[in-house]
């Protein structure tokens, strides 16, 4: 079996001959990205073969230049491992992704539906022949038996005597979830998780006090099977095994988050009895192992929309005994529990203003509250803001250019963690385009001036206009130790226009549907990582948000999906409220709408 040595970590692994190199990287835990799901299109899985033979490389032309290929660069997804290799995968493991876990909004009021009650029960005697569950009932001060799964009932006799009738009864409403060793100070903990297509973030709570104890996050490990939901659905469609694999990956990440948060709160995972999860409809299906196939194509039918309550163990997640798993309800195939949670977290569903909630991920989900009703749509912006399809694009992680601007007439960039620039993330892209527009280097049609034209328009920055392999480009960062230079190409700008045009058009169509204007909006809430870190001025300058929105109306609301999911974790009333939101929001389908196409065409251009 060939041996692969990964640099710079030095990790070694044996794989059967014929293994795909990208798969081998992933199996060895190397976080090599693969936006297109391993089709040789996106170029994000580029690695360098330091030594060893790989078969001739075919099909890379879309993503690698011949000189790069000659220097040993390969797209891992196109390489079949036939003999021993030393492969440089870059410092992917040392890279920290920026994952947002902050939020504000409605404060939780825990209703203590899940609780762990310490009981010192009188021992049975001839004078007191009460049955075992009846004894617990009496201890709890109930009139009826608590509901109890047969499996637990089967163990009750042993458990009560093992603990000498000093127990903690864990309850969810009137159901007995577990019987545990007596711990007077014992707590019932809960975990709220936002499963994004790209990132997963979790918060551990004390269900009694409603206090947050710890936070942890991960990039969604399913991302190795594609960046966007459709590519993932496509993977899941390969069969039961593929679908189970995706489920296993996300459950694995939840398990890690559970373990990490518990460790930092000095708690045990066995104390966690309730897990609430919010995510888009596809993430929801993949977690529960539901077949997502009909979400992808028209007429977009999910298996289930309502909130779901099941046992964590049913998806293979190990937490406290009998722990429950709850999923926030979805609105439609493309507007999921994350938006329901967002509306819930900021109580937008009950407000009297004209308010917009925008979550710009690969799918731009937009909700509008106006005249006492709530509407939502999804605009398929594409992954440009998350780095895919942009030649030097990357996710918001160490080394990503996150801010671009001009200070005292001088061009500058800022990178995440102040590391050397490795790529451009969404906020940097937005800033760069805004800067080019402000300097007149980019016209309203999206045409990037060539060097000669640039000399007249903006002499200070003209020398940053270069001729790249694909044509005119704007230099963001010079070449530095081994990394090629980073430039924003004309083609990248076209991708940006598609993405921002789709979002702005979605906003406009929603407003038109209810007969409102952008100027009627009193609040525009930007949710999610990109929405929270972006510069509102750049969003308005580039037209990501359509013209007419008042700058003062734009506010970042942080990870509203996580905020709302934690409300559902802590209170049954909030779960009911989420259900009502999911039922009442009017979903507006943009597919096949002429007004969308017209707005999209308009919004692809830039404001003058």
């Amino acid at each position: 079996m060939p041996l692969i040595t990964f640099q710079p970590s030095g990790k070694k692994t044996n794989v059967p001959a014929g293994t795909n190199l990208l798969d081998a990287c992933h199996r060895a835990g190397m976080g090599v990205p693969a936006s297109c799901g391993g089709k040789g299109l996106c170029g994000k899985c580029r690695v360098r073969i330091v030594s060893g033979k790989v078969p001739p490389h075919v099909g890379y032309e879309q993503a690698l230049s011949p000189s790069e290929a000659a220097a040993g660069w390969r797209l891992a997804c196109l390489v079949s491992v036939e003999s021993d290799l030393v492969v440089d995968v870059g410092e992917t493991s040392a890279i920290r992704s920026v994952i947002l876990t902050d939020f504000g909004g409605v404060r939780p009021e825990p209703d203590h539906e899940v609780k762990s009650v310490p009981l010192e029960l009188p021992k049975p005697s001839l004078a007191d022949q009460t049955c075992d569950i009846g004894r617990i009932m009496r201890g709890l001060g109930l009139e009826e038996y608590p509901r109890c799964a047969l499996a637990l009932m089967q163990q009750l006799a042993r458990k009560l005597r093992e603990h000498d009738f000093r127990i903690n009864a864990v309850l969810f409403g009137n159901e007995l979830l577990a019987v545990e060793k007596f711990r007077p100070e014992s707590r019932a903990l809960g975990l709220a998780v936002d499963i994004g297509t790209t990132t997963v973030a979790g918060l551990l709570f004390d269900l009694q006090s409603g206090q947050a104890l710890a936070v942890a996050s991960r990039t969604n490990p399913q991302a190795v099977h594609g960046d966007d939901v459709v590519t993932r659905i496509d993977y899941a469609n390969r069969g039961d095994e593929a679908r189970k694999k995706l489920q296993g990956l996300i459950v694995g990440a939840l398990g890690e988050i559970l373990a990490e948060t518990c460790a930092s709160a000095s708690a045990e995972t066995g104390e966690v009895f309730f897990i609430a999860v919010g995510g888009n409809t596809t993430m929801h299906h993949l977690l529960l192992g539901l077949e997502p196939v009909n979400i992808a194509a028209s007429p977009y039918i999910p298996v289930a929309k309502r909130g779901w309550l099941t046992r964590a163990s049913h998806v293979g997640l190990r937490a406290g005994e009998g722990a429950r798993l709850y999923t926030v309800p979805n609105i439609s195939a493309y507007v999921g529990g994350d938006i329901v949670a967002g509306l819930l977290a900021y109580d937008l569903h009950n407000c009297d203003e004209t308010v917009l909630l925008v979550d710009v991920g690969t799918n731009g989900e937009i909700a509008l509250r106006a005249d006492g009703a709530t509407y939502a749509c999804s605009t398929a912006a594409g992954p440009a803001f998350e780095g895919a399809r942009i030649s030097c694009g990357m996710r918001a992680a160490t080394g990503a250019i996150s801010v671009v601007g001009k200070r005292d007439g001088k061009f500058f960039i800022e990178t995440i963690d102040d590391a050397p620039a490795r790529g451009l993330c969404g906020t940097g892209l937005l800033d760069a385009v805004a800067l080019l527009l402000d300097c007149g280097l980019l016209d309203e049609t999206g045409y990037l001036l060539d060097r000669d034209e640039a000399k007249d328009a903006c002499p200070e920055l003209a020398e940053r206009i270069i001729e790249d392999k694909t044509g005119t480009a704007f230099l963001l960062a010079e070449k530095s130790n081994g990394h090629p230079h980073l430039a924003l190409t004309q083609k990248d700008i076209r991708e940006f226009q598609l993405a921002k045009g789709a979002v702005a058009a979605g906003v406009r169509v929603l407003l038109e549907t209810v007969g409102k204007n952008t100027s009627d909006l009193t609040r525009v809430c930007l949710a999610g990582g990109f929405g929270s870190y972006l510069k509102p001025a750049s969003a308005l300058r580039t037209g990501l948000l359509p013209q007419g929105i008042k700058p003062g109306a734009v506010e970042a609301v942080g990870n509203s999906a996580l905020a709302g999911t934690r409300l559902c974790l802590l209170s049954g009333r909030m779960r009911d409220e989420a259900e009502r939101i999911a039922r009442e929001v009017k979903y507006i389908e943009l597919s096949g709408q002429l007004s969308f196409q017209e707005a999209f065409t308009d919004e692809m251009e830039f404001p003058v």
């Binding site: 879309q62 459709v230 469609n237 049609t445």
Partner: protein, 208 residues
Amino acid sequence: MELLNNLTEAVKKGKRKDAEALVKQAVEQKLEAGTILDSLIAAMDDIGRRFKANEIFVPEVLIAARAMKTAMEILEPVLVDAGIKPEYKVVIGTVRGDLHDIGKNLVAMMLKGANFEVIDLGTDVTPEKFVEAARDNGANIICMSALLTTTMPAMKETVDCVKSSGLKTLTMIGGAPVTQEYADEIGASGYGADAATAVEVARSLVSA
């Protein structure tokens, strides 16, 4: 010729009113219908070339195509009188389950601009409908667009359906997730990476 050059420029810039006035003038001056048509085709060729080079983008192409359409509406009866009609016919549509049609529309417009007769079947078109339309209209090429990785298999089904129908109609595919390799794999006759290339490929398919 000054007038026709101006017409070409007007279409390139998407100036619909100017294009309309100029084509009317050209018709009134009894210029040869075929020559007028050529000046329109030249405009769309230029648009296609610059679109492919990323110099202009979707909105500019749509605006130019709109001007082209206005001019064609005036020219069409004259072409009919002169017995000039497109030599080749295509049916075009977005495949089953897929409702993205902006790319498909661009390809259709560019093909029209290159003097193909274009029968647009819209979106969510089943394999059977493609085949039926191709048969009924005697089309030379079936053009399929798909924007979703999950709807690409419908292209293969359509290609298979054409083969089993016994029709000799050629097939061309395109759309953001589609590649030349995929076209080869499913046995499509051609692949167009963008709207301008689609025209080149269509031209070479019918003349082969």
